[in-house]
Structure formats: structure tokens, C-alpha cells
């Protein structure tokens, strides 16, 4: 089970957070800071999987951004690790070279894309992930 999907930058600012299991809003900040602290303390020689409380964090760095996914022990770390990369590729395709600013200014779109991909890993086919969003926006601009 994927518990949450976070995108944070090196300064520890949250760029996107999505919780798939309810977490009280007051605890969001605390959890995110903790998670970021742990990810930042990892070096390249260390593995990309961290144990945090009773779940695992899988993190992957893209330039100044960290994508962190929290899962329980039913998931395979490596599969999630590659899933992160898959999601980045999808975002890349949509925004044509995705940057941190893209994510910030298009928070809603990134969320919509993620909704297509995750609740477990539900869709990994790029075209299919983007189809609903494209329909929404292409039409919106056409009129």
C-alpha cells in the first residue's frame, strides 16, 4: 500500500503532498520535515530505502527535488523506486521537461496526473495517464 506521495525540494519545502491514508493536517508538517531530514541525510553511497516508523520511505532525487513515497511492507521497494521514475517521465512528457516551478504553478494538474496513476499503482501507461487531463485542458483552451 502506498501511504503518501511527497515532492519536496532541497530546502525542505513541500512542493506536493498527497496522503492515501488520512493523516491529521496538524501532523503533515511534522511528518514532512522528519521525512525530508532523513532523505537529505542520505548520501549516494547509501541505499534509497529508509525505514521510518513502521513504514518504508523510498526516495529518488531529481536535481533539487526529492520525490518520496511512503509504503507499508507489502510493497517491493525497487518496484516503487521505478514507479517514481515512471511518474517523473509522465510529468516530463506533459510539461516537456518538468521543473520545480512547473509543479508549483500547476499543482492541480500534477495532482490530476497522480490521481490517474496512484491509489495503488493503477496505471503506468503514459498515454492513458495523460488522456483525461489533456481532454480537460485542450478543450478548455480551444474555446
Amino acid at each position: 500500500m502506498i501511504k503518501y506521495f511527497l515532492i519536496v525540494n532541497k530546502q525542505g519545502q513541500t512542493r506536493l503532498s498527497k496522503y492515501y491514508e488520512h493523516v491529521d493536517i496538524n501532523k503533515h508538517t511534522l511528518l514532512e520535515t522528519e521525512v525530508v531530514k532523513r532523505c537529505l541525510s542520505r548520501s549516494n553511497e547509501q541505499c534509497s530505502f529508509i525505514e521510518y516508523k513502521d513504514f518504508k520511505l523510498i526516495h529518488r532525487q531529481y536535481a533539487a527535488l526529492f520525490i518520496v513515497v511512503g509504503v507499508d511492507d507489502t510493497e517491493t521497494e525497487m518496484a516503487i523506486y521505478e514507479f517514481i521514475h515512471n511518474s517523473v517521465e509522465v510529468l516530463d512528457e506533459y510539461f516537456s521537461r518538468v521543473s520545480e516551478l512547473d509543479k508549483m504553478f500547476n499543482l492541480d494538474k500534477v495532482h490530476i496526473i497522480l490521481d490517474e496513476m496512484v491509489c495503488r499503482i493503477v496505471e503506468t501507461n503514459r498515454e492513458r495517464i495523460l488522456a483525461p487531463l489533456l481532454i480537460l485542458y485542450v478543450r478548455n483552451q480551444a474555446w
Binding site: 493536517i25 553511497e45 547509501q46 525505514e51 508549483m104 490521481d115 503506468t124 488522456a131
Partner: protein
């Protein structure tokens, strides 16, 4: 392309709306999106948290104004939502916007709607009350002709949806499974997956449709259905074995590259789909050779194909290895898998190494040689700079620990523990160390020292079981007494040295362990006297850093040591100081110590040395105070009433509206806080009293039953025998009658006068004023209490017998000596015995009563036969008695006399349970086997009685029961008979316990015997069991019913038409009681409360109400399937008869 045209056309209405504002929105849009931009930029530029907070608060207040302004367009609202999402993401509360998010989802055009849904899914959680407002929108969108809207609605349903509203959308979503567009079908499957997660029983009926989804022509839909299957197979793999072939075929196609190319990820075909399928196969093939054989080929191919050097192929390989080791083993595959693991472990890539270790950890128990192969790598990993790798290695070592390597492994674990600061890691590791130490400790010294380390590092975060288990181990010891003493002595010595160290702080839990051990086992010391130990404990007691909980442990230890110390100044000093302590608990303990100290003889008898393991008989009912209470009452003292009762009475007297929430929709005033019939009657009177103030109560006031059922002293046996279904309440009045017959008779006279009067209101007013502070009522109350307590006591003693594996609670340990103190001081054998007797007797009375009631109503069965079934020692006498009792008595006095005689006759009986008639299950010329069921309180007892019909002796007749899936069958002692004499009957008893709820089950077995040393013969038989065999009455009070009712989530309602013969509520309930063993708690007018439990302890409550000839049944239970089952049974019983 045509798709898009189709979608745009269907969306036209929404688009017109959007167009209307004309040129205006362009400007607005620019300003709003730039506002989000400026907000984001502003926040990014900020350096301190404080500034951020200021900025966001500013933003939030401006947003609040905008969203609630009537001029805000939906488009602006959409922009506001995105900003609100942003603020919430940063951890600021934006709850004022939630309702607007729902509105946006309802009213917006497509894009706005999508953002509205998005905001809802981000803001709200499953049980948020606002979520209900979304349901209508979802239903509307599901019915929309616009595919995009349907899609959105399905997306949101698969993310977040209120459980109780599932029926509203379920049919719509089921329809969508047949939709022509794959995306709709896929999302519908995902929505159903969500439902399966939160309410599995609601989607049970569409399992066939899931199969269709699995065979869908589109890959996406099929992949989505795998989520549901993975979950269902995890719960019950045996039900889906037939699908193994399908899963294997799918995986073969995926691995063989038969999928469309766009499902490839870095030229690996659908890797996540493969992983999902491998997981499913692993679950299906577990311990099942036949199923496993089906998948060997495809697994082999997977292992072969995944050679590409890419991360995702490693993920597949890992899953593959996992599956190969989960299913029934095949050596060829295992070899290949082991090679794969080797590749992982030896890889220079750290992530792969991690995976390798994880795989090793998983397979090591099946194949320890693999650990030997990779031992050098493991050792390397143990000193790896990455703590995560180290941790995983320790996990691996933990799995291969044995008596030889335990010291080294524990050493490594402790090292890691000293470096780690994370609470979760500490808790986890400490538990493992303690477990290993207990299992494999090589000697005493090592064990104690390891446990010392565990306690000092684990401190107050570790699982409480660890100190408990440790103390239990010390106290109960092993087989060898001298070894035990040495262990204890070593523990005592090591603690004393630890305490001698200056300026060292130990965690509270550790101090508690020390004080218990010192208190119990200091006597083993020869050098140090108890006085010296007391002095050390005293020093700790005076230490401010010690918590008050620990101090009570310490003072308990001192108390235990005092009798050994003879005279000690320290003790007196301690008493002196703590009898004036501000801490009540401490003061209490100090006073106890003081009183005991004054009476040394009592003290030594109370606190014997090394008796911590002996069972104590605790008189929890405080029955030794009965005499005191009786004396008090006879001198005119007001009887004790529980707090809530007093409050209620006060309320009703003041004629104030009752603001307390009603537990149920029916009138609850009659049964809140009642423990005994007397209480109930009082309550119903009160409700009559307060009836003038509230509409609800007026209903209950009009009840016709009330006058007939309840009399003044609480209960009219005369009426009760007419209605005849109050058996749960029966024993208690008998108790009261036994104890003060005279009193009751006078009371009864009064009550008759009362019953005869016609004006209900007046009567009830009078009654309620009369009832307050009635002597008899208090007696009944007291006895009622003793009843429930004695049950508890029995259960407890049962637990004690079975405690073996269970950790006894810390408190039991600490207080063992203390409770013995209060017990021995006050405990009176006589009272204890009476308590026991009373418990037994009441149990008996109940079962017999219900049996009697059974026999009374079941006219087709001759009474005598029923009674002979009871196998009473004096059946005839008993039958007589009971016959009289259940005829309407001629006069009250007579009935009282008879009841008391009945009660006394009960006393002489042994405990009996209801049981079925014997039924022959198999026979041949030599023997015949018949079986019957005894429905015992805690289990179902199956008795097979074997009759030897031949004139010959049978040797070593033996009866065996096949293990059954849903039951746990245990043999009762004394079952194997070496020799069976000619023409005799022997019975075999098996207690059957339910492991998994089921509806029908078969228990089969065989009997094998030797006839006169010649041939051995075997005879098979089977017996049907239904869930009903495991339903027992649950005897609770109405108050408890109310509480339980609120706490159960699963409920089922249904109206049942009653047959003519039982149109009245009491008779219908009686049927339920007899046939389904439900316990009738109370009947209030046209409503009835019943309760039962599924053994071992799953309660189910039933509320019934009668309208004309319809009985409305309403079940609630903590178990989701039980209400459905019971409903079905009730329907059968009520409609059938």
C-alpha cells in the same frame, strides 16, 4: 480523434455555461493565476517560518473573503481552490473552504468540477461529515452522458467515499462495468476495489463480475481487477485456486511480450503488472503442490526473461524469487532463484544489495545453506556505513539465531542499539533481543546482563510484555529448582551492584523490575540483610527523579521485605514520611505497611517468602461485606444507588427534560443503567414519571405490558410465568425470595393492591415514590451484582488455568502479595464458597429454566422425555416442582413457597447444560455410534457414545476426529479405552471451538477397534454443525446493551411478517430464545432487546419492534457477517413457525 469529438459534443452544455461571461474572465484569470504565482514566489523567497506563517495567514483571510463573497465566479473559485490546496499542503488549516470545494464539484464546468473533486479528495477524509454532501453530485455525475464527468466521479469514488452511502452508487457503478470505454470500466473496477477495501460484504454479490473484469479484452481493466484479486486471495486463497490457470496464462502473455507496446516501460513489458501477478501466484501456490505445478513453467520463464540490466527487471526478479520460495518447492527453480539472490547480494549497487539481503532474510529459514554461501558478504554488510543495510543484516541474523551464535548476534544487535536513536528501531530491536535471550540464553549471567542492557536501553519505550515476561520467567522458573534459585540470586546481586553505582539513572521500567525482584528474592542473599536492601530501596524512594508509579513498586518491595527484616529504623522512617505524602496512592500503601508493621505475625503470614506464583482466590464481589451492608440497611440506611441512577432520579423528580442522548431510537429511559429487574421496574416507573415532559416517554408510558410485567418488589413471578420468557431475570427474584421470604410476601401484598388499581399514571407516580429507597430493592441489587461478578470471577479463573503463554499483567505481579494481604485479612472461606455456589447455582437455574420453558412450549415433545434428556439425578421430583412452578400459581404465597423449594432443589443439582437428542451416526453389526451435542457456555461439546452391541470384548477401541478447517477440536480427557466390555456403552467427548465463522460445517471422524485380537475394523461417520451451535445467550443488562449498541458498526435491518400463532411480541421472542438461543434482556411494550454471542466472544445485539403483524428486526454486531446470518435464521424461525 473521433473520441475527442464525441466527448466534446457531449460536453456542450457545460461549455456554453463557461462561455457566457464573455471577455471578462480573461482578465480575471490572469490576475488569479498570477496571484497563485505571487503566493508561491513569495513563499519561496521567505527565509523564516515566522514570515511564512504571516504571509499564509494573510492569504487565507483574503481567500476566506473571496470564497464567501457572492460575486465570486466559479472560475475564480477554482483558482481559490488551488491556492487553498497550496495552503493546506503547507500545513495551514483551510477548513472554511471545504464546503466551497464541494459546491465547486457540484456546479462547475468540467475543469472546475475536476478541481472541485480534487480539492475534496485532498481536504476531506473518509469519515468527514461534509463528505455526505458530495454523494448527490457523484450520483448525478455517474448518470451523466458526458464521459469526462463519469470519469471524474469514478475517480473520486475510488479515492474517498463514505462507507454508509455505498448502496446509493453501487448499482450505477456496476452498470459501468459493461461500458464501452475501457477507461470507464477500469475506473469502475477501481471504485469497486475501494468498496471492497472499506466494506467487503457490500460487494460480495458481484464477485462474478470481477471475473468478467479479469477476462476483459483491455489490459488496463484486467490489471485493475488484479488489485481486488490480490486482496481477496490474501484473505482466502482456497476460493480462487481455479483461477490459477488464468493468472498463469496472463503472466505468460505479458512476459512473452504480447501486450501493446505502450505498456512497456524501458522495453520491459508492463513490469508492475508482472509483479502483481507474481504476488498473486505466490499466494495461490503456498503449501499447494498441485497449484504450484501449474506455475513452474511461467516462473522459470520469468527468471530467464528478466535478464536485462535495468532496475525494474530486478524488481521483477525479486518478486519472482519471493514467489519461488513461497510456493511448493521445486529444486530446479530454487537453484535458479538462489543464483539470482547471489547476483543481488554481490552487486556493487547498494539498492540491489539491500534487495538481496531482504530476499535472503526471507528464504533463510527454508535454506540456511544460502547464508553460509554468502557469509562473507553478510559480515561485510554488518559493518556497512549505511545503517539501513546494517539493520537489514541484523534482521537476517535474527532469523538464523540458535543456541550457539546467540551471544555474538545479540552483541551485534546491542551495538547497533547503542548507536540508534530512533524510537521505533529501539522498540523493535529490544523486543527481538529479549526474545532471543529468553530462547537461547547460554547461562544465567549472560541472560541477566543482556536483560539489564535491554531494560536500560529500551527503557520506557519498550513493549510492556518484555518486563512482564521476564518477571514471569523468574517467578515461574524452569524445571530445575536449584537452577532457578541461582538465576534469581544472580539477578538480585546484579541489581544491588547496579543500585550501588552513583549518579546513574535507570529507566522507570527497569527500576520497577529491580524492585519487584529485590522484594521477592532478596531472601536468597546471605551477605546482605533485608535491612540493607530496604535502605537501598529507601534511597530510591527519596529520589525525585523516580516516578510515583515506580515508587509504589518500591514501597511494595519494602513491604515484602519488612517481615524478614524484623526491626528496621528505615521502615519506620519510611512509614513516617509517606503517611503524610500528598500522593493518595503512596499514602494508602504507607498506611497498609504501618498497620501490618504493628502486627508482625499477620504480616509474615500474609507475605510469605517465594509465593509469587501461587494463585490467589480473589473475592471481587466483596461479599464479605454483605453482613455489614445488611446491618446498615436494617438500621435504616439508604441503599446504595449508582451515580447515574441517582442523577436520573433527581432529574425525573425535578421534571426536567432529559438531555442525555438516547442510545437508540426507541425509548431508552427504561433501561439506562439497570442491572436487575428491580432496577428496571423502577426505571420504567420513572420513565412514566418523566413522561409528561417528553414525547418519547409518552410512548413507553402507554405500554400495556408494564403493569403486568413489573410489580412493586421488582418482579411479579405470577405474571412472569404467564409470559414465560424472562428466564434471564428469573434467578434473581428467587434469590431474593430465598433470603427474605417474609419481607417479600408483605411487599407482594402491597404490590397486588397496586396492580389492581386502574389509573396507570397515578399508580406509576406512586410506585416511583414508593420505590425510592426500598429495602428489598437493594438486596436484589446486591445480589444482582454478585451474580455478574461471580461470572467474571469464573472467567478469570479460567484464564488463569490457561495462562501458559499469556503474559500476566504487571499489576498482577506487583500486587500479588498485596492482594493476598487484603484477602487473607478479610477472606472468609464461607463467603467464598457461597459465592461459588451462587454462581454455579445461578448458571444452573438459568439453563434449567430455559429448558423448562422449552418444554413448556414445545407441546409436540412430551415433557418427560425432555426432562430425561436433562439427566438429572432426581428427575421425577424435579419435574413435579417445575410443573407447578410454571402453571399459574393459585396464590402468591403458595408460589413463593414453591419457588423457594424449587430453589433449594436446584442447590443439590450439578451443573447441567442444554443438549440435543442423541442421533445415530453410524453402525454395523458390532457397534453403533450415536452422537449428541451439548451446548456448553464456552464451547460446543460433541459426545459420541459408542455402544458395543456384540457379545464380545473389543480391544483398544479408539475414536478419532479429522481436523476440520473451521473448527478446533480438542479431546476431553479419558477418551481412549483399551478394552471395551461386551454390550457396554462408552462415550467420547470432544470440545469443538470455532475458528472461522461459517454457516454449515461437517465434522467427521472414524472409530477403529480390534475385535478379540483378530482383525481391526474401522467405521467412519460425520456430523453436521451449523453456526447456531455456537450461538450462546449473552447475559447483559439493558444498560450494557445500550452501550454496546452504539459501539457496533455492522447493522442489518429487516421486517419480518409473523405467523398468526405468535403475533404477540413475547411469544415471538420466546421462539427466538428457544430456537436460536438468544437472550431476552428486556421487553418494553412493543419493543424487545435480545443479545447473543458467537463463541468465543463475538457479541450480537438485536432490537425488535412489533407493528401489527410485522416484526422489525434490527441487528448490530462487531462482526460483519453475524447479523446477516442471524437475520436469516430469525426469518426462518419466525416465518416458518
Amino acid at each position: 480523434m473521433s473520441d475527442i469529438v464525441e466527448k466534446t459534443l457531449t460536453a456542450l452544455p457545460g461549455l456554453f455555461l463557461q462561455n457566457q461571461p464573455g471577455g471578462g474572465p480573461a482578465a480575471a484569470k490572469a490576475s488569479f493565476s498570477s496571484r497563485l504565482g505571487s503566493l508561491v514566489r513569495g513563499i519561496t523567497a521567505l527565509t523564516s517560518k515566522h514570515e511564512e506563517e504571516k504571509l499564509i495567514q494573510q492569504e487565507l483571510s483574503s481567500l476566506k473573503a473571496t470564497v464567501s463573497a457572492p460575486t465570486t465566479t466559479l472560475k475564480m473559485m477554482k483558482e481559490c481552490m488551488v491556492r487553498l490546496i497550496y495552503c493546506e499542503m503547507l500545513g495551514y488549516d483551510a477548513s472554511f473552504g471545504y464546503i466551497h470545494a464541494i459546491k465547486l464539484a457540484q456546479q462547475g464546468n468540467l475543469l472546475e468540477k475536476r478541481v472541485g473533486y480534487l480539492a475534496v479528495s485532498l481536504f476531506l477524509h473518509e469519515s468527514h461529515e461534509l463528505l455526505l454532501l458530495l454523494v448527490n453530485t457523484v450520483v448525478k455525475d455517474l448518470q451523466s452522458t458526458n464521459l469526462v464527468e463519469v470519469c471524474m466521479a469514478l475517480t473520486v469514488v475510488s479515492q474517498i467515499f463514505p462507507r454508509e452511502m455505498i448502496p446509493a452508487v453501487l448499482p450505477l457503478i456496476e452498470d459501468k462495468l459493461q461500458h464501452s470505454k475501457e477507461i470507464i470500466r477500469r475506473k469502475a473496477v477501481l471504485a469497486l476495489y475501494k468498496f471492497h477495501l472499506i466494506a467487503p460484504n457490500q460487494v460480495q454479490h458481484i464477485h462474478i463480475k470481477f471475473r468478467k473484469a479479469l477476462c476483459d479484452r483491455d489490459v488496463g481493466v484486467m490489471a485493475a481487477s488484479l488489485h481486488i484479486y490480490l486482496r481477496m486471495i490474501k484473505e482466502n486463497s482456497s476460493g480462487y485456486k481455479d483461477l490459477t490457470g488464468s493468472f498463469v496464462t496472463i503472466l505468460k502473455q505479458v512476459v512473452g511480450g504480447k501486450l501493446p507496446v505502450d505498456f512497456n516501460y524501458h522495453s520491459v513489458p508492463a513490469p508492475w503488472l508482472q509483479i502483481q501477478l507474481l504476488r498473486i501466484l505466490g499466494l495461490l501456490g503456498k503449501d499447494d503442490q498441485r497449484t504450484s505445478e501449474l506455475m513452474y513453467d511461467v516462473l522459470d520463464e520469468s527468471l530467464r526473461r528478466a535478464e536485462l540490466n535495468h532496475n525494474v527487471t530486478y524488481a521483477i526478479l525479486f518478486e519472482c524469487v519471493h514467489t519461488v520460495y513461497s510456493i511448493y518447492p521445486k529444486s530446479e527453480l530454487l537453484e535458479k532463484a538462489a543464483k539470482c539472490i547471489g547476483k543481488f547480494v554481490l552487486s556493487p549497487k547498494i539498492n540491489l544489495k539491500y534487495l538481496g539481503l531482504k530476499a535472503l532474510t526471507y528464504v533463510i529459514q527454508q535454506d540456511p545453506t544460502l547464508a553460509l554461501q554468502h557469509q562473507m558478504t553478510i559480515i561485510e554488510c554488518l559493518d556497512h556505513p549505511d545503517p539501513i543495510i546494517k539493520r537489514e543484516t541484523l534482521e537476517l541474523l535474527y532469523r538464523i539465531t540458535n543456541a550457539q551464535n546467540v551471544t555474538v548476534i545479540v552483541q551485534k544487535m546491542l551495538e547497533y542499539l547503542h548507536q540508534s536513536k530512533e524510537e521505533y528501531v529501539i522498540v523493535n530491536l529490544v523486543g527481538k533481543i529479549a526474545e532471543l535471550a529468553e530462547k537461547y540464553a547460554p547461562d544465567n549471567a549472560w541472560f541477566i546482563q543482556t536483560m539489564n542492557a535491554v531494560f536500560s536501553v529500551g527503557g520506557d519505550v519498550m513493549h510492556p510484555d518484555i518486563p512482564n515476561n521476564f518477571l514471569r520467567l523468574l517467578a515461574e522458573g524452569f524445571d530445575d529448582e536449584t537452577e532457578d534459585q541461582q538465576l534469581r540470586l544472580y539477578a538480585v546481586q546484579s541489581y544491588l551492584t547496579l543500585l550501588d553505582m552513583e549518579n546513574v539513572f535507570y529507566p522507570q521500567r527497569f527500576l520497577q523490575v529491580m524492585s519487584w525482584v529485590l522484594g521477592e528474592y532478596s531472601y536468597l542473599l546471605d551477605k546482605e540483610t533485608p535491612a540493607e536492601v530496604i535502605a537501598k530501596l529507601y534511597k530510591l524512594l527519596m529520589n525525585d527523579s523516580v516516578s510515583s508509579e515506580t515508587k509504589t513498586w518500591l514501597i511494595a518491595a519494602v513491604t515484602k521485605l519488612t517481615p524478614q527484616a524484623h526491626s528496621s529504623d528505615t521502615v519506620e522512617r519510611l512509614i513516617h514520611e509517606f503517611t503524610i505524602s500528598l500522593d493518595t496512592c503512596m499514602r494508602q500503601h504507607a498506611f497498609e505497611l504501618k498497620h501490618l508493621h504493628e502486627n508482625v505475625e499477620l504480616m509474615t503470614s500474609l507475605l510469605p517468602v517465594d509465593r509469587s506464583c501461587e494463585d490467589l482466590a480473589v473475592d471481587a464481589s466483596l461479599s464479605f461485606l454483605d453482613g455489614f451492608v445488611a446491618e446498615g440497611l436494617s438500621q435504616g440506611a439508604a441503599p446504595y444507588k449508582p451515580h447515574h441512577q441517582r442523577q436520573e432520579e433527581k432529574l425525573s423528580q425535578e421534571k426536567v427534560l432529559n438531555f442525555e442522548p438516547y442510545g437508540l431510537s426507541f425509548s431508552s429511559s427504561g433501561f439506562t443503567g439497570r442491572q436487575s429487574p428491580a432496577g428496571i421496574s423502577l426505571g420504567s416507573d420513572i420513565s412514566g414519571n418523566s413522561a409528561e415532559t417528553g414525547l418519547k416517554e409518552t410512548n413507553s408510558l402507554k405500554l400495556e405490558g408494564i403493569k403486568k410485567l413489573w410489580g412493586k418488589e421488582g418482579y411479579l413471578p405470577k405474571k412472569e410465568s404467564k409470559t414465560g420468557d424472562e428466564s434471564g431475570a428469573l434467578p434473581i427474584p428467587q434469590e431474593s425470595i430465598m433470603e427474605n421470604v417474609d419481607q417479600t410476601i408483605t411487599k407482594k401484598d402491597q404490590s397486588q393492591v397496586l396492580t389492581q388499581s386502574k389509573e396507570e399514571k397515578e399508580k406509576q407516580l406512586l410506585a416511583s415514590s414508593l420505590f425510592v429507597g426500598l429495602g428489598s430493592e437493594s438486596t436484589v441489587n446486591l445480589l444482582g451484582k454478585a451474580d455478574t461478578v461471580s461470572h467474571k470471577f469464573r472467567r478469570k479463573s479460567k484464564i488463569k488455568e490457561a495462562k501458559s503463554g499469556e503474559a500476566s499483567s504487571t499489576h498482577n505481579m506487583t500486587c500479588s502479595s498485596f492482594s493476598s494481604l487484603s484477602n487473607v485479612a478479610y477472606e472468609d472461606d464461607y463467603y467464598l464458597n457461597t459465592l461459588h455456589d451462587r454462581g454455579d447455582k445461578e448458571l444452573k437455574t438459568f439453563s434449567l429454566n430455559s429448558e423448562l420453558l422449552d418444554s413448556e412450549s414445545l407441546t409436540e415433545l412430551p415433557l418427560v422425555e425432555k426432562f430425561s434428556n436433562c439427566s438429572l439425578s432426581t428427575p421425577s421430583l424435579f419435574a413435579d416442582n417445575s410443573m407447578e412452578i410454571f402453571h399459574p400459581p393459585q396464590s402468591i404465597a403458595a408460589s413463593v413457597a414453591k419457588e423457594s423449594s424449587l430453589a433449594s432443589s436446584f442447590l443439590e443439582e450439578t451443573t447441567e447444560y442444554i443438549h440435543s437428542n442423541a442421533m445415530e451416526v453410524c453402525n454395523n453389526e458390532t457397534i453403533s455410534v450415536s452422537s449428541y451435542k451439548i451446548w456448553k457456555d464456552d464451547c460446543l461439546l460433541m459426545v459420541w457414545s459408542v455402544t458395543n452391541k456384540s457379545g464380545l470384548e473389543l480391544k483398544s477401541a479408539n475414536l478419532e476426529i479429522f481436523p476440520a478447517e473451521n473448527f478446533k477440536v480438542t479431546e476431553q480427557p479419558g477418551c481412549c479405552l483399551p478394552i471395551m466390555e461386551a454390550e457396554s456403552t462408552k462415550s467420547f467427548q470432544y470440545s469443538v471451538q470455532i475458528e472461522k465463522p461459517f454457516t454449515e460445517g461437517i465434522l467427521s471422524g472414524f472409530i477403529r477397534y480390534h475385535m478379540m485380537d483378530t482383525h481391526s475394523a474401522q467405521l467412519e461417520f460425520s456430523v453436521n454443525l451449523s453456526l447456531l451451535d455456537f450461538i450462546r445467550p449473552l447475559k447483559i443488562s439493558s444498560e450494557d446493551f445500550g452501550k454496546l449498541w452504539l459501539s457496533f458498526a455492522n447493522d442489518v435491518k429487516q421486517n419480518v411478517k409473523m405467523s398468526e400463532s405468535q403475533a404477540a411480541l413475547p411469544s415471538a421472542l420466546k421462539t427466538l430464545q428457544q430456537k436460536l438461543r438468544l437472550h431476552i434482556i428486556e421487553i418494553i411494550g412493543n419493543e424487545g432487546l435480545l443479545a447473543c454471542q458467537l463463541l468465543p466472544s463475538i457479541p450480537c445485539l438485536l432490537h425488535c419492534r412489533v407493528y401489527a403483524d410485522v416484526l422489525a428486526l434490527w441487528f448490530r454486531s462487531s462482526c460483519s457477517t453475524l447479523p446477516d446470518y442471524l437475520l436469516y435464521q430469525c426469518q426462518k424461525v419466525i416465518e416458518g413457525s
